[in-house]
């Protein structure tokens, strides 16, 4: 027998109260692990706290933000982050889509390749980083050993500025292409076959079908991939920590995330790091709104 409704409440009010009660633990958890730390970071960013000193901390207003904007390392780290985003997507999207199209055709061996190609996604980034660091080593590395059969002086991947940036893009792409491929593959599987078949009957070739029918249909999926990858690059840390050893050579591969880490945990400048963290968060917020808009698109 159902329990009686609390006296004086309509069914709608009771349902709403129950809903609030059920959602409450989640809200409490979110406030504890997300909102409070974020508020703490914002508060910290307006002070001059450091881990390496017992000097009494005080409120210093926008000083940490002004310091960040005046620091060339901040702007360089943003440029580096953007480079990894653009270069990474320029490689990962075409290759991921290409592989997905191949696997979607169910050729012989597709099942094997479908499994094999997602292996990079399953590996721990630290293990991947170490593996690539050895492979990219100018003296021992298999990559330069192979390249020496083709060119006289292969790039010093981890020792020079530009090659190091491309090395990071290469490692990131190796890990991320399977993700792009799986997403596109899922998108392809959900597409209706009718339009492509009708176009084929009308004489359209495979390229025309792909460019004018398949690709436009995949745009929502591709936009989601782009946004996830953008967020991933903003968060990129472990690969840089291992492969280029905290963003080297010099500052060549130091992203904003890594600069924040270095400032907080290497220099012990907690308040300065908090300001950088807040700026990083502000940079990511627009992506959320774009995401929502894409989600609402028909």
């Amino acid at each position: 027998m159902p329990r009686a409704m609390p006296r004086g409440l309509s069914l709608e009010q009771a349902t709403r109260r129950l809903a609030v009660l059920l959602v409450l633990p989640t809200w409490v958890l979110l406030i504890l692990v997300f909102a409070l730390p974020l508020a703490g970071a914002i508060w910290l960013s307006f002070r001059n706290e450091t881990l390496g000193s017992f000097v009494t901390p005080r409120f210093i207003g926008w000083e940490n933000y002004r310091g960040a904007f005046a620091d060339p390392r901040f702007w360089e780290s943003i440029r580096t982050t953007l480079f990894f985003m653009v270069a990474g997507l320029a490689i990962q999207l075409p290759l991921g889509i290409g592989l997905a199209l191949l696997l979607h055709r169910n050729l012989r061996g597709t099942a094997f390749f479908r499994s094999a190609l997602i292996v990079p996604m399953l590996l721990t980034p630290v293990a991947v980083g170490l593996m690539w660091r050895f492979m990219l080593d100018a003296d021992f590395g298999i990559i330069n050993w192979a390249l020496r059969h083709v060119i006289d002086s292969p790039p010093n991947w981890l020792g020079a500025r530009i090659p190091a940036r491309f090395a990071v893009v290469m490692v990131d792409s190796w890990i991320s292409i399977p993700f792009v491929m799986l997403m596109v593959l899922a998108g392809l599987s959900s597409l209706p076959r009718g339009p492509a078949e009708a176009a084929a009957i009308d004489g359209a070739g495979p390229l025309a079908i792909f460019v004018f029918i398949t690709l436009p249909s995949l745009v929502p999926v591709i936009l989601v991939i782009v946004m996830i990858r953008v967020v991933d690059v903003v968060k990129l840390f472990d690969i840089l920590f291992i492969v280029t050893q905290r963003g080297g050579p010099g500052t060549a591969t130091q992203t904003l995330g890594l600069l924040t880490y270095n400032t907080g945990f290497i220099f012990f400048q907690t308040s300065r790091a908090a300001a950088l963290g807040v700026l990083l968060t502000l940079m990511v917020i627009p992506i959320y709104f774009i995401w929502r808009r894409v989600g609402r698109a028909p």
Binding site: G52, S53, F54, R73, D139, G248, P249, G250, F265
Partner: protein, 412 residues
């Protein structure tokens, strides 16, 4: 008295007795390393002798110092003994993380501070106080391949010019690369060493940067020049990579901390066991010894400092010095063990740890802002070493960057 009253009184008396009694356990905080393993090998004997139980927490190097700083700043009293890298002595000193050990040291015959050279005695000192005992003595020394030197009839280099000539000879003979220095993510170790050795300094007494003086430029020009006689991957080699390359490729010489010696003895790590010897680091215009290594001390919030000292005295005291090194620890420069034949068989470089008074001891800058300063140096070096900018111009720019960082040291 009511039963409740009797219970309260008994509890209060127990608490009073307990507070006056010696602690029955201590917590020690170690960083995984040969020294940490050696320390732990003494725990059973210490527990048996004193009845004090020892609990160990090991934290990887990458986060160990940050974790200890946080723990002490929160006043948790979690640890009674803590191992730390000497590079963190200044930040720890500025933050009041470690307790001054001077009274303990002065009153301890078992530890016997006079068994150390004067420079080593000061190795754990910050602002006139001993915040840590010496846990390892690791000067930068010359490592060279005896087989290559014999084949070419080369003498062991005594000056940097000898070093350059030997590196050139080995490279030109086609026997391998002439030398390796750490030109990569730990290049600051060699950057400092060469500036000091060529008569320069990183900053003056007023904390004004000095890395663009003629002496500093000469040191860094030498650093850059030697890259031409090094392996291709030298430019990206960390401190560990530098040693690994020296132990696995044909490279004539390396200047490196003695603390890496342990790996040179292991056939699985070294392709040239038996063909590597060590010597004093070549001389520049000034005789300096760049000294590095571990420290160990008592955190300022330790709950059982007396028992902690008892433990340190037991493990690192003079009587156990030989056993401690035989347990695999990185060498400590105690004068009484430097000519021990059993130890010399394992650590042939031990005599180099007896640093003569004529050699000025230099160690990591004892600055709170050192980590940021070091990063600025590491950020500037690749362009200088690869020739993207001239040495003088690159060091001028670095000098500019260092100014505001050093200014933070004294700012509130």
């Amino acid at each position: 008295m009511t039963p409740t009253g009797r219970l309260l009184t008994a509890t209060a008396v127990s608490a009073l007795v307990a507070s006056g009694a010696a602690a029955q356990e201590i917590n020690i905080y170690l960083i995984p390393s040969p020294s940490s393993d050696a320390i732990q090998s003494f725990i059973p004997a210490f527990e048996e002798e004193t009845g004090i139980r020892v609990n160990v927490t090991e934290t990887p190097y990458g986060e160990a110092h940050q974790k200890l700083l946080l723990s002490v700043q929160l006043g948790q009293g979690q640890y009674d003994v803590a191992q730390f890298d000497n590079t963190f002595l200044a930040p720890f000193g500025a933050a009041g993380t470690m307790m001054a050990l001077d009274d303990y040291i002065a009153g301890s015959e078992a530890y016997d501070i006079s068994d150390f050279s004067e420079g080593s005695q000061e190795y754990g000192m910050f602002d006139g106080e001993s915040l840590g005992l010496v846990l390892s003595t690791e000067p930068m020394i010359l490592w060279y391949r005896t087989d290559l030197f014999e084949e070419l009839g080369l003498d062991v280099p005594e000056t940097w010019e000898d070093y350059r000539a030997a590196a050139q000879a080995i490279s030109e003979a086609g026997l391998g690369d002439g030398n390796i220095l750490g030109w990569g993510p730990n290049a600051s170790w060699w950057f400092m060493t060469l500036i000091w050795s060529f008569g320069g300094q990183l900053y003056d007494a007023d904390l004004v940067p000095q890395v663009n003086t003629p002496e500093a430029v000469a040191g860094i020009t030498f650093f850059k020049d030697m890259l031409a006689y090094g392996p291709e991957g030298g430019i990206s080699s960390s401190g560990d990579d530098t040693t690994n390359k020296f132990l696995s490729q044909d490279i004539g010489m390396m200047v490196q901390y003695s603390g890496y010696w342990g790996v040179a003895l292991e056939p699985e790590n070294s392709a040239f066991v038996g063909n590597i010897a060590t010597a004093k680091m070549p001389l520049g215009t000034v005789d300096i010894t760049h000294l590095a290594g571990w420290n160990i001390g008592i955190p300022s919030d330790a709950q059982n400092p007396d028992e902690a000292w008892q433990f340190l005295e037991f493990v690192l005291g003079r009587d156990n010095a030989v056993d401690y090194l035989l347990a695999g620890a990185a060498a400590i420069g105690r004068k009484s063990v430097l000519d021990n034949p059993e130890l010399l068989a394992i650590h042939p470089y031990l005599p180099l740890l007896d640093i003569p008074e004529t050699s000025r001891i230099e160690r990591y800058p004892q600055l709170r802002v050192w980590p940021e300063l070091e990063k600025a140096i590491l950020d500037a070096l690749p362009a200088i070493l690869t020739g993207e900018v001239e040495v003088q111009a690159g060091l001028d720019a670095l000098n500019e960057v260092m100014g505001p960082i050093l200014a933070q040291e004294t700012a509130e």
